[in-house]
Amino acid sequence: MIPFGTQKAPGPAVVLPYYGTAAVSFLILTVLLLLSAGHFTGHFFQPHILAITHLATLGWGTMLIFGASHQLLPVVMEVHLYSEKLAKICYWLLLPGVILLVFSFWFFWVGWTMQVGGLLVLLATILYAINAYRTAKQNKKWNLPAECMVTAAWWLVITALLGTLLVFNLRYRFFPAGDIFYLKVHAHLGIAGWFLLLIMGVGGKLIPMFLLSHKEPGIFVKVSYYGINIALLGFLIMAFVFNTLAYWPVFALIGAVSVLSYIVFVRKAYKEAARKKTELPMTITLVAIGLMILPITLLLVLALLPKGNPEVVPLSLAYGISVFGGFITAIILGQTYKTLPFIIFMHRYKKLIGKMKTPLPKDLYKHHWVKYQFISYIVGIILTIVGVILQEELLIILGSIGLVLTAVFYNMNVFFTLTHKPKEENKDDGRRTKQKRGSVRIVEG
């Protein structure tokens, strides 16, 4: 028997700054997207797009995922977070790192600001990976979701390392091939190695749990996990050993099969769900999983297009947007409402349950704001992607306005939840005044 009830989520000061900062980053990035709509009718390797992409991947996606996984990894592994201090330092490295990087890309300062920004982000990712690994290591029985989360953390380190080297390469030119070559590798390490694996890991645990489905991650998530890792390793070897990206469609195909396998898992979990009537945050999450098909489709179309075809550039941009603005953003927009209210509830109400009527986590945010957020998001992302594919600036502007509205509703809700306080303090109803002489023992076995 092992003691139960000793599992300890990290304190709110560890995870909540990540959530708040990510929400603000999301708002800023949608405004920048609106201001730079014209740039999305050109090539993707240009300052404003690089700035927006890094704000999306680091300031928005990674920032929020760091917050959520510092909370969730101990839960998934049934252990304490290895170090709260590391988690706090990680935040204070990531934040200035992102600010420096985004400013440097926007104005294309390739000097020390970009280099320091890159190094700070790299350090943050290393600390995160160490914390994730040491947390998971406390439990000898690793499960698949934890394996995905820890592997994703190491892929993130490799992504950040390559990114930092690319930043230095802009100034000192030591890589043999051109920037675009390495940029493609850097982007896909981040997309598949970091975001996809992590989403698959966390989703493998949380989606069945929230749906009240007892579908285990099992073979479908295993296929996804190994498929993604094999594709990434193959892609890396092709790029750095054979100095070519010519065979990328082979690895894209393996990646596509992996993603489809994951979609099958989610579909099965939904079919076995006791809770068929899903709440909006779970509906958004399921839509996000469905949105994974969009970048796969674009990738397969790109694989079939001949080299030099003029459609390659807008389709590549649309592919990038469908990844970061599509399923990654969508899943965060949904899962924020399944994690943040839970964290706030845990910290503000855990001593009050049973002693007073407490709200539930789902009562800690405004449901109609989630609805408006979802509608504006769907309209916004569709218009943006269609606008980019057709190279229509007006559609991109209209889409960006939709996404700005999404970010406004999202921020309103996030800060509404973050600032939530129980209505009355110290709800001691008198029962606590009884002197306790008995003991409490909680065991698992």
Partner: protein
């Protein structure tokens, strides 16, 4: 002899166990919004006289449930408040595995399952 009296003659602690059951109706699974008795998460409540101990055998909807520690803490807090002189022993088990079939009809209706 009423059914309650018959139960008491068989189990002298039947009313105590009933009371514990009533108390545990106040422990809510915050994700689902139902109490743990309605959810069927409590498998058994017993009283060990020699050790003056209330034993609660229970489970969670899923292993590693994020609300698990909070739920068990609530169980122990409420029982300690009601029975400050007794030892509270919560035994968390994973067999039999909880399933939605264990939710009572009232709970199923609230979840829209029936």
């Amino acid at each position: 002899m009423t059914e309650e009296e018959q139960n008491k003659s068989v189990d002298p602690y039947a009313s105590l166990k009933d009371n514990v059951g009533q108390i545990l109706h106040n422990v809510i699974d915050p994700e689902i919004g139902l109490d743990i008795m309605t959810m069927g998460l409590v498998y058994n409540v017993d009283f060990e006289e020699d050790e003056n101990t209330i034993l609660v055998v229970m489970t969670l909807t899923t292993r590693g449930c994020p609300f698990g520690p909070m739920i068990t803490q609530n169980v122990s807090d409420l029982l300690q408040d009601e029975y400050p002189d007794k030892d509270i022993h919560i035994h968390m088990v994973w067999e039999p595995k909880w399933s939605v079939d264990m939710i009572n009809d009232e709970g199923k209706a609230q979840l829209g399952m029936i």
